[in-house]
């Protein structure tokens, strides 16, 4: 019996050492150490042995069982390590295989930039208001100090609606200024973004439909200095760094004084295509709210001062995203849209 145990140990060690993988090892363990295995058989046969033989056989069998468990555990560690090593190998990995695309739709580039502008202003406490695109002549012109004989009202610039003659496609977002002043008590900070229309020939930089951003701030201590500060904050957010600006005279009937704000070209040092080699980019028309506009809206221009500004969203989007033709925006071509 002792020899049988010794022989069993020799065979078992050899089988364990030869186990090729974890599954084979599991089978060997089950064969050798399971309920039906030879060791279990030997242990079960002990009661039938000679009394003198029993302790030795029992001890040997148990020692062998412990030893085999240890050997199997050792072998398992080795096999597991081999397996991990194999998994870590990258022989069959082709790093140039393409990714499987996660398909999705797209937001219009104008929407993307519009949101950035909205977010900057709402973070500064501005409300966003909207006005109609089909606008009363009164709000688009008259209340903005653009009288009936003003050149801006000519048919070649403005789309007029048929009918009673008091409706136009708004030519700017500025009517929202008046609508705001009529309905809200100062102080307030408001922006409005949306579609505007001018009867222009279409080319790479002009479309008859485009988008503007309008801003209006009215309060008791609002100066041109605040106006510059506000736009600088916006530009810093949009372009990711502080940009130099310059203010120069500009004429808009609904502000006085009126200015134009140029921004130092963020794309070059000393001139490029975007800035027309001048290093300055015309960014925004702006000014202090005209007393006649205050009067038309019932705001006391002695108590309150205010500023207003307006700029084109399309041009800004073109600048930020490097788009060279404004006509892409309204063309609905997936080859363009899919890029955003």
């Amino acid at each position: 019996m002792e020899d049988r145990i010794a022989q069993l140990g020799t065979d078992a060690r050899a089988r364990i050492a030869a186990a090729a993988d974890l599954e084979a090892l599991r089978c060997i363990e089950r064969d050798l150490l399971g309920k039906q295995g030879p060791l279990a058989e030997i242990l079960a046969s002990i009661p039938s042995l000679d009394k003198a033989e029993r302790p030795a056989v029992g001890r040997l069998a148990n020692v062998l069982k412990c030893e085999l468990l240890a050997v199997a555990a050792e072998r398992r560690e080795v096999l597991e390590a081999e397996l991990l090593a194999a998994e870590r190998s990258c022989e069959d990995f082709d790093p140039t295989l393409p990714a499987r695309p996660a398909r999705r739709g797209s937001l219009h580039p104008i929407t993307r930039v519009r949101r950035r502008v909205e977010d900057v202003f709402t973070s500064m406490g501005y409300r966003i208001l909207e006005g109609p695109q089909v606008e009363l002549d009164y709000y688009n012109f008259q209340a903005l100090n653009i009288p009936a004989d003003h050149p801006a009202r000519e048919m070649q610039d403005t789309f007029y609606c048929t009918g009673s003659g008091n409706l136009v496609m708004r030519t700017h977002t500025s009517p929202v200024q008046v609508r705001t002043m009529e309905s809200v008590e100062p102080p307030y900070r408001v922006i409005s973004l949306g579609r505007v229309f001018r009867k222009e020939e279409q080319d790479a930089t002009h479309d008859h439909t485009f988008h503007q951003v309008e801003g209006l701030v009215v309060g008791e201590d609002v100066t041109a200095g605040h106006l510059i500060g506000t736009l600088r904050s916006l530009l810093a957010h949009l372009f990711g760094r502080e940009l130099d600006t310059r203010l120069r005279p500009g004429y808009f009937p609904f502000v006085e004084p009126g200015f134009e704000l140029d921004v130092r070209c963020p794309f070059c040092e000393g001139g490029c295509r975007v800035c027309g080699r001048t290093s300055w980019i015309e960014f925004c028309g702006l000014g202090m709210v005209h007393p006649r506009v205050f009067a038309a809206s019932g705001v006391d221009s002695e108590r309150y001062t205010g500023f207003a500004f307006g700029f084109g969203l399309d041009r800004l989007t073109m600048m930020l995203l490097g788009i060279d033709d404004v006509r892409h925006f309204m063309a609905g071509d997936l080859r363009f849209l899919e890029q955003f």
Binding site: G105, Y126, Q133, C161, G163, E256, P257
Partner: protein, 813 residues
């Protein structure tokens, strides 16, 4: 507008300022400069030469061989064909290597066997005029060897000012106005200019009658003894620099005064004017006249005419007529300087398509005090050139004009408050005086006298003066500040949150692409889509004929994009969030109702016959809309078959559903519609042949969504007891809908049906003719106990009976 810096020098000393400095200071304080260019740079390369000898060419009668001294060691031998070349002349010589306008490069040449090293230039070759009947003979004083520009002292830099930035500044449409600005900006003196009329004879003034309010002043001054001819070089070069081609003395002089003071004027041949005199009147409807450019023009009652007696001789403020030309040899002239209504001139010029330098100026609303000064300026300039001229009679000066000059009180505090710039009252007064405004101390304010030339529409209010102060002091001095205020956060913006939610949902996993389409629809598009009968607000002046209707919905624009995109992509999914206008629902003031909606279109090749029942775009778009509404906080909508007229001509009459959500009161409210495209439209939209598509579209009203109640926030507890899953298939007559089956399944579950999902629809022989099989995953669960097999069996028995009641059978076990 082009401004010559040399011309500016007649009015202000710009010494020490480079043209770039001048341009930048104008941009920063007055008006936008668009560019700076050197005037005729080739005149630096063309040199003054002295013709030493002129010999006939041995082989050509019309050519001459000249030796020309250009200040080099050796004189040049030049073959010249001009009849007027002669020894002893100073001429302009383009040497070998010199490049003349038109990329004409001068090379060494042999002309009929005689070597020629250079060219003696004509005026036209140097782009200095039209004359080409001979070479240009220079002044005897010109220094040999110098560049022509330097020798004649005509080197110039031209500044181009953006006309748009001058629309509100009628005073800046001449060099003196710009010079005045530069004098103010740089603190220099505006040089004096005598604008008083020289004494005149006491003959009879020329008769003028004004019959229209559109002319508020007409000055007419007879001038005698004028000798016609060529203008002196100084005048020609000033005009050339600003892009005016010199013609003859009288035309050039008239232009000079316009470009110097900004006041257009006209010289008539007095001998050709009727003895009745000048009559200024509106044209009669249908009246015709021929203008100087030879065009016959048909006039209307809104066009203002200058007439000689009854005959039109000029379109007031725009262009002279054929009959106003000064004939050769005439020495007796009538100078007209007038003031016309800007709007009348502008509208006439636009209508007749004849915008001119003169009309551009009148349109801006010129100073009515200016005509007499301009008349004096012209006469004085002419007198310097031709001392023999006489003014036989006092000027006629008629019209209802008034002096515009005014006084405005300016509070220093107002300046400081609007600009946010601390300036003393003295600094404020000083900046205004630099602009030649008189400033005195008023009551608690500065009293500012605004001269007539600025007081039209330009400077009328205190705030206008604030602008003057700001731009002269320099806007760069304004300290940049940030707003501070006690300000509450803006109220939640539900509409914007909704729009953003929709955009994000659709552009994400739903794979829709956002587009923007025009608000204008063409008559053709409306007719194609069957929308022509719906009321559309219309444009009076569309960009393109027929493209005049303002959209009621954003969907039609999207439908038009399907065909071009389907050409390039198999699966096209587009959406737009936008506005439509309904004229039939107008406010009291006439504003059409503005509706906001999201429209979606989906076009893809038709699903294969064997595809799963929900493989097509219809079910797909339903899923997108359900997900969209849940994603922005609403319940899964109900889909209702529209009862009655849908009023969506683009929609398939049968395959259309309303999107219904509970409103605030809990009642169902249609927020939109989803439908397959009307079959007849596929061809009209170009979606046939290889582009044949399954097309489904939907519109959802944002206005109505905002009135619907949101899904209650909160969660349903996760079931504590395991659920039982069963797959069942019902074979029923084709008229029994999936909805009926679901209702039956739920009824049979007696409250235990946790979910019921259709996964297969099948027709075929095994199901029976006219019948279809619908298979469902059914989940039974109870919040109180673990369900056993018995529950499943009971459910199936009930369902078996229910199927029989519906005229079919339960197919699965």
């Amino acid at each position: 507008m082009l401004i010559s810096t040399r011309w500016l020098g007649r009015h202000v000393d710009l010494g020490g300022l480079a043209p770039e400095d001048v341009a930048e200071s104008l941009t920063l304080s007055t008006a936008e400069v668009e560019g700076i260019t050197a005037f005729a740079p080739h005149l630096d390369d063309v040199r003054v030469g002295f013709v030493q000898t002129r010999e006939p060419h041995p082989d050509a009668d019309k050519l001459a061989v000249c030796t020309v001294d250009v200040g080099a060691e050796e004189p040049l031998q030049i073959v010249c064909g001009a009849p007027n070349v002669d020894a002893g002349q100073k001429v302009a010589v383009a040497e070998v290597g010199c490049v003349l306008p038109g990329e004409l490069k001068i090379k060494k040449a042999k002309i009929r066997g005689v070597p020629s090293t250079g060219m003696i230039c004509s005026v036209r070759e140097l782009e200095l005029g039209d004359e080409h009947d001979g070479i240009w003979v220079l002044d005897e004083d010109a220094a040999v060897g110098l560049g022509v520009a330097e020798a004649l002292d005509v080197r110039d830099t031209v500044i181009e000012i953006d006309n748009k930035s001058l629309t509100h500044r009628p005073d800046l449409w001449g060099h003196r106005g710009i010079a005045g600005e530069l004098a103010a900006i740089h603190g220099r003196e505006l040089l004096p200019l005598d604008l008083s009329l020289p004494p005149t004879g006491d003959g009879a003034s020329f008769p003028v009658r004004i019959d229209s309010v559109a002319c508020s002043r007409y000055v007419a001054l007879p001038v005698d003894g004028v000798r016609q001819g060529r203008s002196p070089d100084w005048l020609r070069f000033l005009l050339l620099a600003v892009g005016q081609r010199p013609l003859d003395l009288l035309v050039d002089l008239s232009n000079f005064v316009m470009l110097d003071l900004g006041q257009p004027n006209h010289l008539f041949d007095r001998g050709r004017l009727s003895a009745e005199g000048i009559v200024v009147r509106m044209a009669n409807a249908g009246e015709r006249t021929t203008t100087l450019d030879g065009e016959e023009r048909s006039l209307g009652e809104e066009d203002l005419l200058i007439c000689s007696g009854a005959e039109p001789v000029a379109l007031a403020g725009i262009m002279g007529g054929e009959g106003s030309k000064v004939l050769e040899g005439t020495s007796e002239l009538l100078l007209e300087v007038a003031h016309f209504d800007p709007v009348t001139v502008r509208r006439s010029a636009i209508r007749l398509g004849t915008r001119s330098d003169a009309s551009a100026r009148f349109e801006k609303g010129l100073d009515p005090a200016l005509p007499m000064e301009a008349a004096a300026h012209l006469v004085r300039t002419l007198t310097e050139l031709q001392p023999q001229i006489t003014l036989p009679a006092p000027p006629t000066d008629v019209g209802a004009w008034t002096d515009q000059s005014r006084e405005i009180d300016l509070r220093g505090e107002r300046v400081r408050r609007l600009l946010g710039l601390s300036l003393t009252d003295e600094e404020i007064a000083d900046s205004l005086r630099r602009l030649h405004f008189d400033v005195s101390a008023g009551e608690g304010a500065l009293r500012v006298a605004v001269p007539s030339r600025r007081a039209g529409k330009d400077v009328t209010l205190e705030e206008d003066l604030v602008e003057e102060v700001g731009r002269i002091v320099g806007y760069e001095r304004i300290p940049v500040r940030r707003l501070t205020a006690e300000i509450a956060p803006p109220p939640p913006d539900e509409r914007r949150a909704l729009v953003r939610g929709i955009q994000d949902r659709l552009s994400g996993g739903a794979r829709f692409h956002e587009v923007l389409t025009y608000s204008f629809l063409s008559d053709d598009a409306l007719a194609t889509l069957g929308l022509a009968d719906l009321p559309h607000l219309q444009l009076r002046n569309p960009v393109r004929e027929g493209e005049r209707s303002i959209r009621r919905s954003v969907l039609p624009g999207l439908l038009g994009l399907l065909e071009p995109n389907r050409r390039r992509r198999t699966d096209v999914r587009l959406f737009e969030v936008g506005e439509g206008y309904l004229p039939e629902r107008a406010s009291e003031r006439g504003e059409p109702a503005q509706v906001h909606e999201v429209a979606l279109v989906w076009a893809a090749p038709p699903a294969a016959a064997a595809a799963r029942f929900d493989a097509g775009c219809f079910a797909g778009l339903q899923g997108v809309v359900e997900d969209l509404l849940r994603g922005v906080g609403f319940d899964t909508p109900d889909w209702e078959v529209p009862d009655g007229e849908l009023n969506e001509p683009w929609a398939h009459p049968g395959r259309a559903l309303r999107v219904v959500l509970p409103d605030a009161s809990g009642a169902g409210r249609a927020v939109g519609v989803l439908a397959a495209l009307e079959p007849g439209l596929h061809r009209a939209l170009g979606l046939e042949g290889e582009l044949a598509s399954d097309v489904v579209a939907a519109r959802v009203s944002l206005d109505r969504l905002l009135e619907c109640s949101r899904r209650s926030a909160g969660y349903r507890p996760i079931p504590r007891y395991p659920a039982t899953k069963l797959d069942v298939a019902l074979a029923l007559g084709g008229e029994v809908g999936v909805g009926d089956c679901v209702a039956a399944i739920e009824r049979c579950g007696k409250g235990l049906v946790a979910s019921c999902e259709l996964f297969d629809v099948f027709c075929g022989e095994s199901v029976g003719a006219g019948r279809r099989s619908m298979a469902f995953h059914v989940v039974l669960a109870s919040p109180e106990r673990t369900l056993g097999e018995a529950d499943g069996r009971k459910f199936l028995r009930r369902l078996e009976r229910a199927a029989a009641d519906l005229g079919g059978e339960l197919r699965s076990e």
